[in-house]
Amino acid sequence: MRLALTLATLLLLAFSAGAQAPPIKIGFASAMSGPAAITGEGVRWGATLAVEEINAKGGVMGRKIEAFFADNKAQPGEAVSAVRKLADVDQVDVIIGQTHSGACLGAMPVVKEIGVPMVIEACSHPKIRELSGKGGNEWTFRVALDDEIMAYTFARYMARQHVKTSSILAMNNDFGRGAATAYDAAFKKAGVKLLSTEFFDPGQPDYRPVLTRLKRANPETILAVILASDGAPFMRQFRELGLTQRIFSRGSLGSAEFLHQVRDNPKIGDGVVEASYWITGLDPEWDRKWTERYKIPPRIHGSLAAITLRWAVVPALEIALKKHGKADRQTIRAALEEVDVKDSPLGPIKFDANHQAWINMILIEMNDGQLRILEKLPTSPALLN
């Protein structure tokens, strides 16, 4: 008799242990190696921190999250490998990432073929919006704003500030080129005269030749599409040459990262107005946790990945679990279409027919080593008209 009871108890325990629900697997893909490795590192740090936080609070409705990472080397070919690894080998239920537009474009056909939802946290190519959503690729979603949206908004702002002429200085990669094309069109619409467009290779240290060319073109303002790491030597040499143009920037020039790089002389960045959709200060709690853990100011790509996870993917997981009791690829995809978050740090997250979330654009001014939000501009499809 006692044996039977013990056996029964053991069996019961075994069953209940086995009945604990499996974790939800989320894949993160970004450039983990190569020249853009700094972005992938940010994504990995941000994702790790966010996932730990969520799991510490008990997971999503009792289900823990397991994070997997893959390297797309910022190249489309590798992005395909990364997606396949995450989907086929790691068996993830949803992918966040790609970060770089070439990689996004390469990954999109594959996520459709495999049937795994991908939420893009940072790629800025306008084509992604055209290709996604109803009638197109129903498996891709994007939280970030693209260059077209930002260009039209920013150009209109510049025109309101009575800017008459400008020159574009952009990184010679997918981000910079895409932005340059968008601003070219946007300036025309807003009535700002574009005097010249210059491209530079990210990571190269000498800006004097291009600054000389800019000096010769003599615009009133410069539209700089540049990241913080290049921004620091650029601004130093800008000041060195005594140039005085107003700088409007799109990238991460006006950022805590930049100020950290120029902490010996923060006034180098004075007067720069940055158009972005993320900045430290939108979520002070997150900033604090990041700085505590990683000892440097929060990085943009890591924070974007974390926000995408917490305010787009997690709500979708909750919807899927509530409605269907499970969170697999199909239910997550359908759930993403129903996500309607009003107050994420980036603004409202609700995917339209093209699976684009129209988050806020923020204008930041850098002065005296401080960043100040000038304006918060909501965006909508109407802007593109």
Binding site: S33, P35, A37, P209, V262
Partner: protein, 273 residues
């Protein structure tokens, strides 16, 4: 700046008959050594600037004893691949150990500007120019006057004869290596305040230095220096007046044109490898 890096490479080529594709990494490591001394340890600029080459000399010697000794007698293909492999290892170890975040080492001179009749230049640039010239002059004297220097020259001209006459080939090779590393590191210490330091910074440099060495007359140090100045100048001019995006392409095309016109390089005599 290119010139100093190329000079180091040319030295090694001419004297030790060695192609070192990891040379760019000497520059990168030298820059990090400088950063460490200046930013982390808080040493004053001149001390840190001398520390970096010192560290790299030690590194260069270690490198020579381990890797180079093994590949020296082999064909130049082997040397190229082996040093390329080393370059890959070093660059990626740097990423792992030092992180991808670029480091900045602004110094007092890199922020202060000198304004001469409308031409504005940061003091540091003048330091780079002055120091380079001083170092080249010192190099010339060393090669021409000291025993080791003369041994290096002899070695580059006729290896077998040197062994016969009693020149300690291994020792001279080691000195050459150390010198080469020191040159790269010194260049790094001079230039870092102006730019960023990051693990990838050496790779592009190696390619350009290699091009300069060949174009200047294989193994001929002054030729390499001249060729590097030519590359630097072409890049700056092309960047300012023609097209910034295509400036690297133009510089390379000029190099190729030079080689086609004078296949032995600008000043070279063939070393006959």
């Amino acid at each position: 700046m290119y010139a100093m890096v190329a000079a180091g490479l040319a030295l090694m080529l001419g004297v030790a008959r060695l192609i070192n594709f990891a040379h760019g990494e000497f520059f990168m490591l030298g820059a990090y050594a400088f950063w460490f001394g200046y930013s982390e340890l808080g040493l004053p600029y001149p001390v840190a600037a001398v520390l970096a080459p010192a560290v790299m000399v030690a590194f260069g010697v270690a490198y020579q004893r381990s890797v180079i000794r093994a590949i020296l007698p082999r064909s130049w293909h082997v040397q190229l691949i082996a040093t390329l492999a080393t370059s890959i290892v070093l660059t990626n170890l740097a990423i792992i150990v030092l992180g991808t975040q670029p480091k900045e080492v602004p110094t007092a001179l890199s922020s202060r500007v000198l304004d001469v009749g409308g031409v504005r230049v940061v003091w540091q640039r003048l330091l780079v120019l002055g120091a380079s010239l001083a170092i080249f002059w010192a190099l010339q004297r060393f090669v021409a006057r000291t025993r080791t220097g003369r041994a290096m020259r002899a070695l580059s001209q006729n290896r077998e004869a040197c062994a016969v006459v009693g020149v300690d080939v291994q020792r001279v090779a080691m000195v050459t290596f150390a010198l080469s590393a020191a040159l790269a590191a010194a260049a790094a210490a001079l230039v870092s305040p102006l730019f960023n330091i990051f693990p990838d910074m050496g790779t592009g440099l190696t390619l350009k230095a290699f091009a300069a060495v060949v174009a200047g007359g294989f193994g001929y140090v002054n030729g390499a220096i001249a060729a590097s100045f030519l590359i630097g100048l072409t890049e700056a001019l092309a960047g300012s007046y023609v097209s910034y995006a295509y400036k690297d392409a133009i510089a390379f095309l000029v190099m190729i044109a030079v080689l086609l016109w004078r296949p032995q390089g600008l000043f070279g005599r063939r070393i006959g490898i």
